[in-house]
Amino acid sequence: MQDFVQHLVNGLSLGSIYALIALGYTMVYGILQMINFAHSDVYMVGAFAAYYAAKWLGIENQPGLMSLATLLVVSMVICAILGLTIERFAYRPLRKAPKLNILITAIGVSLFLQYSGQLIFGADPKVFPEVMTDLTLLQWGNLSLRSSDITVLIVALIAMVGLHFLIHHTKIGRAMRAVSQNSSVAAMLGVNPDRIIAMTFVVGSSLAGVGSVLVGMKYPKIEPLMGMMIGLKAFVAAVLGGIGSVPGAVLGGLLMGLSEEMVVAYLSSTYRDALAFGILIVILLFKPAGLLGRYQVEKV
C-alpha cells in the first residue's frame, strides 16, 4: 500500500511534466493542425538555458525559491523567443503548403536544433544545478514524500491554472479560441491570425520552458537529445487526451505518467518506452479523437 502511494506520487509528478509539454503540442495543433516536432527540442534548449543561466548568475550552489523563480523565468523567456523565431522563419512561409511539407519542416527544425545543440553544448550529458534542496517532508514506512515532487506538482499546477485563465478570461485567449475554430472568420472580425499564432507559440514554448526546469530538478541530467523521448511521450499524452483539447492534454499527461510509473514498478522497466506507443495505438484504434476530443464530421 505504501509502495503504491509512493508510485502514485511519482507518477503524478512525472505526469504533470508530461502534461506541461503536451500542452504545447496541443495548443499548436489546435490552432494550426500541425504536429510541432520541434517542440521537444525547444524544451531541450530551455533546460540548457537554465543550466547556463545558473552558471553565469552564480546561483548554481544556492538552492532556494529565488533561484527556482529566476531559472523558470530565464528558461521561459528563451523558449518563447525560440518558439517565436521558429514560427516566423520556418512555419509561417508554409502556412498554405500541404500538411506533409509542414510536418517535414517541423522534423527538419527538430533535427537542426538537436545537432546544433550537440555542436554548441557538446554531446556529453551535463549535471543540472540543484535548484531546490531536496528534503524529505514525510516518511511513513516505505513512503517518503519528497519536496522536489511537491514543488513540481505545485509549479505545474500554477502554470496550468495560469494557462486556463489566459485562454478563458483574457482577450488574447478569446482570439486564440476564435482562430482555432475558424481562422478566416476570425480574421474578418478583426483578429490578426498571424499574431495570435505567434502568441500561441510563445505560450506553448514557455510552458515547455517550465517543464524543462522541472525535469532538471527531478532528473538532473541534461543532454542535447533529451527532448526526443520525452517529446514523443508528451505528444502521445496529447493524443491520448484528445489533441487540440487543453484539459485533454493535462489528463493525458497525468495518465501517461501514472501508467509509465506503474509499468516500471510492477512489470519491467525495459518496456516503458514501448508502453507509450502501445497506449497510443490502442487509443487511436478505439477512440481516435482521444479521451476528451470531439469528433468532427467530414464535410465535402
Partner: protein, 325 residues
C-alpha cells in the same frame, strides 16, 4: 514475355557496367557508399508507394526494415536450403522471406491503422516502429542490444569479388523493386492508389475500396522495406536495434519528399543525393574541424521545403522531361 523483360534487363546491364567501373577505379569507401545507395533506393521507392502515390503518411519504415534485416540475418546464420555451389540462391530466398515477414507485419499494422487519416497514421506508424525497436532490444535470442555480429554475406563466385557479388545482388533487387512498383502504379491498382490520394471521399463514392487500396499499398511497401533491411544486413554484416531508429524512417521520408512525392525516378535521384551528400560534406568537416554535416543537412531540408515544396521532380518522372508535350 521477352518484351516486358527488355527494359529491366537493359537497366540491369547498365548497373553492371557501373559496378565494373566502381570495382576497378574506386576505393573501398566509395564502393560501400554505392552499396548504401542501393539500399536507400529501395527504401525510398517503397516508401514512395505509400507516401507519394497513395497519399498516406508513414513514419515507421525503419520498423519494417528492422523486421527484414533480423529475419535475413537470423536465417542466414541458422538455415541453409541450397547446397554450396548455389549459395546465392539461399540469400535470394532469405531476402524474399525477410520481405515476406515485413509484409505480414505491414498487413497487421496497416489493417487497423489505415482507417485513420493524415497525422494520426503518421503517429501510429511511428509508434509501431518504436515498438519493434524496443521489442528487439528485449529479445535475447536475437542478441538484444548487442545485435547480431558476423552475418554471412552474398558468396563470392564465378570470379566475382565480394563487392561485385554484393553489388549485383543489390542491383538485382533495385531493378525488381523499381519495375514492380512502376508497373503496379501504372496498372488498374495504381489508379486506385492515385484516386485515394487525390480525393478519398470521391474515390469511395465511385466504389473504390479505399481502406483496401491503402492496405495493399502498405503491404507492398513493407515488403520492399523488408528487402532493403535484409540487404543492409548483408552489406554491413552487423545489425543492432538502434540502427533502425526513428531517424532511419525520417531519412526515408526525406528522400521521398526531396525527390518529389509520387515520382519513383525522383526517389532514386534523392536516394543518391542524400546518401552521397553527407559523405561529400566530410571534406567540409576537415576544413572547419567541427561536424557540421547534420546541421547543414537539416537546414537544407527546411530550405527545400520552403523554397521548393514539391521536391526536385514534383510528381513528374525522369522520362517526362524529354517526352514531347
Amino acid at each position: 514475355m521477352l518484351r516486358t523483360l527488355k527494359l529491366p534487363f537493359l537497366s540491369f546491364l547498365g548497373m553492371v557496367v557501373f559496378g565494373v567501373v566502381l570495382e576497378f577505379g574506386f576505393s573501398a569507401f566509395i564502393q560501400i557508399t554505392a552499396l548504401f545507395v542501393l539500399v536507400n533506393m529501395i527504401m525510398a521507392m517503397s516508401l514512395n508507394l505509400v507516401n507519394g502515390t497513395s497519399g498516406q503518411f508513414s513514419l515507421g519504415h525503419a520498423g519494417f526494415m528492422a523486421v527484414g534485416a533480423y529475419v535475413g540475418a537470423f536465417l542466414s546464420q541458422h538455415w541453409t536450403l541450397f547446397p554450396e555451389g548455389l549459395g546465392a540462391l539461399n540469400f535470394l530466398l532469405y531476402t524474399v522471406l525477410g520481405g515476406g515477414l515485413a509484409a505480414v507485419f505491414g498487413f497487421l499494422v496497416g489493417q487497423p491503422s489505415l482507417r485513420l487519416k493524415g497525422d494520426y497514421l503518421a503517429i501510429v506508424t511511428l509508434g509501431f516502429g518504436e515498438i519493434i525497436r524496443v521489442a528487439l532490444l528485449n529479445m535475447d535470442f536475437l542478441g538484444g542490444a548487442r545485435g547480431i555480429h558476423g552475418i554471412p554475406t552474398v558468396p563470392e563466385g564465378f570470379g566475382l569479388s565480394r563487392f561485385m557479388a554484393q553489388y549485383l545482388f543489390g542491383s538485382f533487387w533495385v531493378i525488381v523493386c523499381f519495375f514492380f512498383l512502376w508497373r503496379l502504379v501504372h496498372s488498374n491498382q495504381g489508379r486506385g492508389f492515385l484516386s485515394v490520394r487525390e480525393d478519398e471521399i470521391a474515390a469511395e463514392s465511385m466504389g473504390v475500396n479505399t481502406t483496401g487500396m491503402k492496405v495493399r499499398a502498405f503491404v507492398v511497401s513493407a515488403f520492399f522495406a523488408g528487402v532493403a533491411g535484409v540487404l543492409s544486413a548483408y552489406f554491413v554484416r552487423y545489425i543492432n536495434p538502434s540502427s533502425f531508429g526513428f531517424l532511419r524512417s525520417v531519412d526515408a521520408v526525406i528522400m521521398v519528399v526531396l525527390g518529389g512525392m509520387g515520382s519513383f525516378t525522383g526517389s532514386i535521384v534523392a536516394a543518391v543525393l542524400i546518401t552521397v551528400l553527407p559523405e561529400l560534406l566530410r571534406t567540409v568537416q576537415q576544413v572547419t574541424g567541427v561536424d557540421l554535416r547534420m546541421v547543414i543537412y537539416s537546414l537544407a531540408l527546411v530550405l527545400v521545403m520552403i523554397l521548393r515544396p514539391q521536391g526536385i521532380f514534383g510528381n513528374k518522372e525522369l522520362r517526362d522531361f524529354w517526352r514531347k508535350k
